[in-house]
């Protein structure tokens, strides 16, 4: 019974004289390799050149600010609850008078820490967040660490810098497909 039509029948006929001399076969093979010799190379020279990973790649975490530069996070703890690796911990604090330009709501995260050795970059924290505060950036990796005291990322490394705001490349399926279509190695 034939399951697919992809199988190739082995040609078991005796070789002709030209085939026995190997020369036509060798010439054909050399032609194929020469074609590849001049063809475009598939290599991306990694540290200098990076492939576009797509608009929904889950990389480095970021704690967003709103348009006026106030922290969106209210330290509700839903991300820590959602986190399957228990990587997130936070300490909540109450906003006092005069801090209205720093924190958007009455409660904020006095400290917010992510243990990057525990994090599995599943993105459940950004799904759980009711305030659209925590995101996994698509354009930045968590850098390599070489010692354990570099592992826990605090607010100084996580909160968004207003001079370099983070923006998603695409929010809809159509936008994303358009981006993928023009995917090519990009120099970052």
């Amino acid at each position: 019974m034939q399951l697919t039509d992809r199988s190739k029948k082995t040609d078991k006929t005796p070789l002709t004289l030209a085939e026995k001399s190997y020369l036509p076969g060798i010439a054909k093979g050399l032609g194929i390799t020469l074609k590849h010799f001049f063809s475009k190379k598939a290599t991306i020279r990694y540290p200098e050149q990076k492939r576009y990973l797509g608009p929904i790649f889950r990389g480095h975490h970021i704690l967003k600010r709103d348009e006026e530069g106030r922290e969106r996070c209210t330290a509700c703890g839903l991300c820590a609850v959602a986190c399957p690796a228990e990587a997130i911990s936070m300490v909540a604090a109450e906003r006092v008078k005069g801090e209205e330009s720093l924190y958007r709501e009455e409660k904020y995260a006095a400290s917010y820490e992510i243990n990057m050795l525990r994090c599995i970059f599943c993105g459940l924290c950004e799904e759980a967040c009711p305030k659209e505060a925590v995101y996994l950036r698509h354009d930045k990796f968590v850098p390599v660490f070489t010692s354990r005291d570099q592992v826990i990322y605090g607010k100084d490394q996580l909160v968004e810098d207003m001079n370099e705001r983070y923006e998603r490349d695409a929010w809809t399926k159509e936008e994303m497909q358009k981006l993928w279509a023009q995917q090519k190695p990009v120099n970052y």
């Binding site: 078991k12 004289l17 020369l23 060798i26 093979g29 050399l30 194929i32 390799t33 590849h36 290599t43």
Partner: protein
């Protein structure tokens, strides 16, 4: 000291240095060509375009532990790679890399030594080359190494026969064993490859086998024999083995270019010589045209080195019985036929014409034979 002597020493030193440099860069280009053929870019980290890669490799090999297995024959274990390297470097002595240099009223040949048995020297030394492999493989006291060594020995002996027979045809045309005379007999575009395409193919195939290059790299086949004769080797002793292989590749490319592609001859060389001597005077013009010839010779050598690597990354390895079949039942009879055709052509006085007619008649006869007596091609 005699200035002629100094120039001669410089030439010999130059040939020595050039063959080592080319061998070192062959390792780099082997990797780059392999990468290009496989749609990659190859080594590009050490220096611009990775050009310092051979230095890095050599440095690594020098600083690795120089280990000699406990049950190995210590002195033979050291002698093996030394002999391989020595014989690889000795061959280049007789190859004419260029015409001659006029200096101080004397003509100095661009060649290590001009002996009237040049090609015999090459053959003798190349046959010695297998000793390095054999001794190394035996001294390792490892059955895979021994297997590799024995394979190398039997393969080299088998293919030397066909190689020698195809060379005899060349020798008959030049009626000399001297490589310089052979080159000079191919003046201009009068190259031997046009007279003996069959002999050229046989010689090329045999030199692949002599260099232990793919598709004939059975002595060092990784997946059958771990690594063949150099399984037990490490550090610079392994480096010497690998290096001698690349020197051998350079030398055999040079020999092929000398015997079949006219060495330092190129079309229009008389015109170049005349213009050079006219414009720069007899002495400088002569030396400049010698330089041009040498450059042409190296271009031919590089073309063959590229062919060696190109074939390596195209063809898979032969099975051992196929290798022996090809050598004994294929190439040796073909070489004898080539010998007969060349002899007839030389006697007839119209060498080029009769050579091609003879080849055509031979192919027609083989076709007729296989049509009448051969197995019919039946579809299964």
């Amino acid at each position: 000291m005699d200035s002629v002597f100094i120039i001669k020493s410089l030439i010999i030193l130059g040939i020595f240095a050039i063959s080592l440099t080319i061998a070192a860069y062959e390792t780099y280009f082997e990797r780059v060509i392999a990468a290009f053929i496989q749609d990659r870019v190859g080594p590009d980290r050490a220096g611009p375009f990775g050009l310092l890669q051979p230095l890095a490799d050599a440095g690594k090999l020098f600083f690795k532990e120089d280990f000699i297995p406990g049950m190995a024959d210590k002195w033979l274990f050291i002698l093996g790679p030394s002999l391989a390297m020595l014989t690889a470097l000795m061959t280049s002595a007789v190859i004419p890399f260029g015409d001659s240099i006029l200096y101080d009223g004397q003509e100095i040949l661009v060649q290590g030594i001009e002996v009237n048995i040049g090609i015999l020297w090459v053959f003798g030394v190349v046959s010695l080359g297998v000793y390095g492999i054999l001794i190394g493989g035996w001294a390792s006291n490892n059955k895979y190494s021994l297997y590799g060594a024995i394979r190398a020995a039997s393969q080299n002996i088998s293919y030397e026969l066909a190689m020698g027979l195809s060379i005899i045809a060349v020798l008959m045309m030049a009626s000399s064993l001297s490589l310089r005379t052979i080159v000079e007999s191919q003046h201009g575009m009068n190259w031997n490859i046009f007279y003996q395409p069959l002999g050229f193919i046989i010689f090329l195939t045999c030199s692949f086998a002599e260099c232990n290059r793919t598709p004939f790299d059975l002595p060092e086949s990784e997946n059958e024999l771990v690594a063949g004769y150099h399984t037990e080797y490490g550090s610079m002793k392994l480096g010497l083995y690998l290096f001698s292989e690349y020197v051998n590749m350079f030398i055999s490319s040079a020999v092929i270019a000398t015997l079949f592609l006219g060495g330092f001859n190129y079309p229009g060389m008389d015109w170049v010589y005349a213009t050079m001597t006219e414009n720069f005077g007899a002495v400088v013009g002569h030396n400049l045209s010698t330089l041009a010839g040498t450059l042409v010779f190296f271009a031919k050598i590089f073309a063959f080195i590229f062919l060696f690597m190109w074939v390596r990354w195209t063809l898979p390895r032969f099975r051992y019985d196929q290798l022996m079949d090809l050598g004994w039942k294929g190439l040796i009879p073909l070489a004898i036929v080539n010998l007969i055709i060349t002899a007839a052509a030389e006697l007839s006085g119209h060498a080029l014409l009769v050579n091609w007619i003879g080849l055509g008649v031979f192919i027609a006869l083989v076709y007729a034979w296989s049509a009448i007596f051969g197995t019919k091609k039946t579809s299964l």
